[in-house]
Amino acid sequence: MALDKRYFEYPERSYGMDHGRYDWSMLTDRQAIQWPGDKKLAVWINVGLQLYPLDQQGVPFKVPGGMTMPYPDLRHFSLRDYGNRVGIYRFLRAFSRYGVKPTYAVNTELAHQNPYLLEAICRDDHELICHGWNMDCLHYGGQDKQQEAELVAKSVDGLRELSGEAIRGWLSPAKNQSEHTPELLAANGIDFHCDWVNDDMPYRFFTDSGDIWSMPLSTELSDQFILMNNLHSEQSYVEQILDATEMLASETTTQGGRILSLQIHPWMLGQPHRIGKLEQILAHLAERDDVWFATASDILDTFTSQLK
């Protein structure tokens, strides 16, 4: 099949990015940032608290981690629900034991359905960010703008009302966005999103409704990616996190502070055979004298307060 003439035209072939969302900049060219107490590594533990509906529509794709079997896919529905009933309480104990200050990315519908869960995660020092409505309400290219606007407003406002907290951050289900998502987030008073994995530090992200920040939440280091997508062992998960910790810490000797961001899920690491691995990692991090456990907003505020 012959190709359209456009296939041989390169309208964006010029300096910088091929879009206007952010400026091109190499990490090493940027200002060094100091974390409080002269710590080297900000550790951002980001917990996905998720609702995977049984009647998944899968538009425009099936969310990774969602239903895969013909309806009713009870195995995946209940296994994900396990995290919100059981796994999260193992997380809470571990966080308390090792002094972690977690950030919870919460599907608003889950918070709406489970006031007890919302109350439980808010007992200790924490931050809540909005993780959309549920895992089957995706944001995607070509989505009807009005429909998405309602989805964002319902999700952000809903979590604010239920929690009474400011809700400054956003994580899209499946980290997927439409061409309008950043504008809608800015218009709803969101300060930062965590979907773009192109950096190890925060950077300014342009929208027609004003700038927001992009926060570096690693997909590569998420438990779901390593254990479920890559099918690596639990032991390898630990090794990968520790190797990443070592590498980022060593980079701080010549550059500024760095961020270790760990996206974890109670339906994954909250299992009895895995929780020990999370504890092993947290114990290691807690023992290090160069680690600062912080929420996404703690990190962003420290970062922006130092920008020249």
Binding site: F8, E9, N176, S178, E179, V197, N198, D199, D243
Partner: protein, 322 residues
């Protein structure tokens, strides 16, 4: 369509004319960082989708951008540490988008070879003239921005046509004579360089580039854990080094700044580089240098050996091999 691309002849991996690399080295070792630009919203190609999601495909696009924003400097510093000059498989539009990266590599005398213009523009569906223009554009970009006469080619996103290798060889000759368009990285049939048939009859070679050692294949397709990848690299080296005693071999590590430079992967990669470069009789080199050295010293011997041991046999029997 052809049942066999016909680029090379069968040539048994035994009793070949002995290769010795410069300084008596047993193995030629090169690292080929792919420095790529993927477009957020490329024009559609009916034969292959660029991204799994409708644009903007944030997950795939953004991790590749990480390679340029964050990963490149990490890998470059590591290669500096072990005195390795990279041989860059370059999306040549990167010369326009990110000239700083090109400058840094130029300062280090790294090699630039063509990997097409964008890694989101596939060869599939191109007419011969369109593909020729794309290849020419990419080689001219490299010359304009680096002064180098592009010696090698790895087709964008490993997308090929039946003419790809012929066109690359021909455009190289048109632009720069025998200095350009002399080797391909697109074939994985051997652990030593081999002569390649092109329709222009030019002295053209395949230089082993290794799909198996390619970090993206290892991490994304084969889903190998980082430390195991480091071990595989060492094992690959050990065997090629041992066999290089008999006749010089080639080891290549093709990398991507968005894979090997991620924080959880760099350490294992470094250990492998440290291991490999700590051996004696390793020629740490570039793709072009291997190709040129081979062309000068071994190309004709290889052709002759193939003729004597394989083709004559085929001609002399009526059932043939091929």
């Amino acid at each position: 369509m052809k049942a066999n691309p016909g680029y090379y002849d069968y040539w048994p991996y035994e009793n070949r004319p002995k290769i010795t690399w410069p300084g008596g080295a047993k193995i030629a070792f090169w690292v080929a960082p792919n420095i790529e630009f993927y477009e957020l919203n490329p024009p559609e190609n009916p034969h292959r989708k660029a991204w799994p999601q409708p644009a903007p495909a944030v997950p795939g696009y953004s991790i590749r951008d990480y390679g340029n924003r964050v990963g490149h400097m990490r890998q470059m510093q590591l290669l500096d540490k072990y005195n390795i000059r990279g041989s860059i498989s370059l999306s040549t539009a990167l010369c326009d988008h990110h000239p700083q990266i090109i400058e840094l590599c130029k300062e280090r005398d790294w090699e630039f070879f063509s990997h097409g213009i964008y890694n989101t523009r596939y060869t599939y569906g191109m007419s011969e003239a369109e593909e020729r223009d794309m290849i020419r554009d990419s080689m001219e970009s490299i010359f304009r921005h680096t002064g180098q006469k592009c010696a090698g080619y790895l087709a964008p996103a490993l997308s090929h046509s039946d003419h790809t290798i012929d066109l690359f060889a021909e455009v190289g000759t048109e632009l720069f004579g025998d200095d350009a368009g002399i080797y391909t990285c697109d074939l994985f049939h051997d652990d030593q360089p081999t002569p390649i048939h092109t329709r222009s009859g030019k002295r053209f070679m395949s230089i082993p580039y290794s799909l198996e050692m390619n970090d993206t294949i290892a991490f994304v397709v084969n889903k190998i854990p980082p430390r195991q990848y480091g071990q595989i690299l060492k094992d690959n080296f050990d065997r090629l080094y041992q066999e290089g005693e008999e006749s010089g071999t080639v080891m290549c590590i093709p990398t991507h700044n968005y894979q090997v430079s991620c924080p959880h992967r760099l350490k294992a990669f470094e250990e492998a580089l440290d291991y490999i470069t700590s051996h004696e009789d390793v020629w740490v080199t570039t793709g072009r240098e291997i190709a040129e050295y081979y062309r000068e010293h071994f190309f004709e011997k290889a052709k002759q050996d193939i003729e004597n041991r394989v083709l004559s046999l085929r001609g002399g029997s009526n059932h043939g091999i091929g």
